[in-house]
């Protein structure tokens, strides 16, 4: 009984701690509710898709897919092309996805194959693989683009004539998905109807009297994310999903039952990589600028940290973890610098604090996972023995 209670607390300790931290930090930061909600909504739209892409490899027992940065890179290459060609709007985003997909598939197959060669240490391998592919990506973007790969737009290229600039403006697709279906929550007593028309554009208006100011909702993005959640739920019900769950729990048994283990693992990584590619495109359409050499860097780390803060572990993660995580993590992200400034007088502290928390939470999650796994192994060993006689 006590053990069960302990398990429940231990199982949700991480989100609980973050709720407490936020509860202290929010008043300290002095941000208004509408500002926080606006920021949170933006960040949910921006990051959820990336985080959701981590779920499937976890299901297949491959741990946290640090290799998702590969997908992010594929997405960025897609974006670079549409920028060069000047494709804008929703068609531009779709085309970027379309171009990114084959690249992500190839990278995903490579990543999966490498991980199959390094069973038991998938995470560190995919992590280093991320760095390695980053090198290849940089080589491609910095030297081959504009030289072998045709990129002509001078706005993209470095002045030397080849290689892509460090910052690329994504003006053409900026906020295009977020604002596709404009929706506003407002506190002011404006037009009383659900749909209102202002300046020729239709808005979805929701009124909440207690709110000050108005909040824009990235409705279309949220719909895409919701569709993706439905996809995950459906995927879990398929044979492939079932096979992945089996492999995640026991590879040897799955193999003896005739499930193609290695192939399925590669599929899991490919799906994750492709989704990370789309996630990065959604992320960047919100940001509006592409930092060619850095945007993907932190994508993996922040997504993984957010997922873990949501209460997921290396071997178990759900959709709920994703949303709890993204809210708590980004709440901390928003308020920490301001809280740090108001508390100690240094915004820098808050910045470092959130970086520390991101890394620390991953470290703790990994330690807990390894610890638990070793303990379970011990317990499994113990369960093999019968009743002891001599006692």
């Amino acid at each position: 009984m006590i053990r069960k209670l302990f398990d429940i607390i231990a199982g949700n300790a991480v989100p609980a701690v973050f709720i407490i931290i936020s509860a202290f930090a929010i008043p300290l930061s002095g941000y208004s509710a509408s500002y926080l909600i606006q920021e949170l909504l933006t960040r949910i739209g921006r990051n959820s898709f990336l985080i959701l892409s981590l779920l499937i490899p976890i299901m297949a027992g491959m741990g946290l897919n640090f290799g998702m940065v590969l997908g992010a890179m594929a997405g960025q290459i897609g974006l670079l092309f549409i920028c060069d060609w000047g494709i804008v709007g929703i068609p531009g985003m779709l085309l970027a996805c379309l171009i990114g997909t084959p690249i992500a598939i190839v990278l995903g197959i490579f990543c999966g194959a490498v991980m199959n060669r390094a069973k038991g240490r998938e995470m560190v391998t995919s992590y280093i693989l991320g760095f390695f592919i980053n090198g290849v990506y940089q080589m491609t973007v910095l030297y081959l683009m504009g030289w072998i790969i045709p990129i002509t737009n001078p706005a993209l290229l470095l002045s030397r004539g080849y290689g892509v600039r460090n910052a690329v403006s994504l003006l053409g697709i900026r906020g295009i998905l977020d604002n596709l279906i404009p929706a506003i929550i407002t506190g002011t007593q404006g037009a009383g109807q659900f749909f209102s028309v202002q300046g020729g554009n239709a808005f979805v208006m929701i009124q909440l009297p207690f709110l000050e100011g108005s909040i824009r909702i990235p409705l279309a993005t949220l719909i895409v994310i919701a569709l993706f959640c439905v996809f995950i739920v459906w995927f879990r019900k398929t044979k492939l999903g079932q096979d992945m769950r089996a492999i995640g729990q026991n590879q040897a048994v799955a193999d003896s039952a005739g499930i193609p283990v290695n192939r399925t693992r590669i599929i899991a990584i490919v799906i994750s990589t492709v989704l990370a590619c789309y996630g990065q495109i959604i992320y960047l359409q919100n940001m509006g600028t592409l930092n060619t050499y850095n945007s993907h860097d932190q994508a993996g780390m922040f997504s993984i940290a957010a997922l873990l803060i949501g209460g997921a572990s290396v071997s178990r993660a759900s959709i709920a973890n994703v949303f709890v995580g993204v809210i708590l993590f980004h709440l901390m992200f928003i308020v920490a610098p301001m809280a740090g400034k108001n508390l100690i007088g240094e915004a820098q502290i808050g910045e470092y604090f959130r970086v520390f928390v991101s890394y620390g939470i991953i470290a703790i999650a990994l330690v807990l996972h390894a610890w638990k796994r070793n303990r379970e192994r011990e317990a499994a060993r113990r369960s093999l023995r019968g009743n002891k006689g001599g006692e």
Binding site: I82, W85, G86, I87, G89, I90, P91, G92, L94, L95
Partner: protein, 171 residues
């Protein structure tokens, strides 16, 4: 051999057009027919296998087509509006140009302006003024830059009724 093939294709196209079927539509019809044949034979293992690959191929072709279509409809063009004399056409005193019914720009003689449009075609409306600021003429044209990125429109030629008023964009 090659020639025979070419001739055959030309004839076939002509024949199809006669029935109001464009080559693209013919391709779609062919794809559907093959699919139906495979579907009818799905009891056989080989057919099932073929079906899977055929459908994958169709999916792939569809995606590629989608890609081209997106490229086609999503392309942003810079339209340079040029009011400079060209080929004996004199520069106009003042032109107000609006594209796709948007806000119009005022272009004085020997000026050049730039507007952005998205998609394969756009509607250009030019109001031409004389020295006194009276509208002399209003021209509405649908222009299709297709896949070319940027174009320049020489307004004097447009006003003068020349057909080749669409010029390549300046470097």
């Amino acid at each position: 051999m090659q020639e025979v093939m070419n001739e055959y294709i030309v004839l076939l196209t002509q024949y199809l057009t006669q029935w109001g079927i464009s080559p693209g539509l013919a391709g779609v019809i062919l794809a559907v027919v093959v699919w139906l044949l495979l579907y009818l034979g799905r009891g056989l293992g080989v057919f099932r296998f073929l079906m899977r690959w055929y459908q994958r191929l169709l999916l792939l072709a569809g995606l590629v087509a989608l890609g081209f279509w997106l490229f086609y409809i999503g392309r942003e063009h810079q339209v340079f509006l040029d009011n400079k004399p060209m080929n004996d056409y004199r520069a106009l005193e003042q032109v107000n140009v609006s594209i796709n019914g948007g806000e119009s720009v005022e272009i004085m003689a020997r000026e050049r302006s730039v507007k952005k449009t998205v998609g394969p075609e756009f509607e250009l409306k030019a109001e031409i003024f004389d020295e006194d600021g009276e509208i002399v003429d209003t021209i509405t044209r649908t222009i299709t830059p297709k896949c070319s990125k940027d174009i320049m429109i020489n307004l004097p030629m447009l006003a003068g009724g020349a057909e080749d008023f669409v010029l390549p964009a300046p470097r």
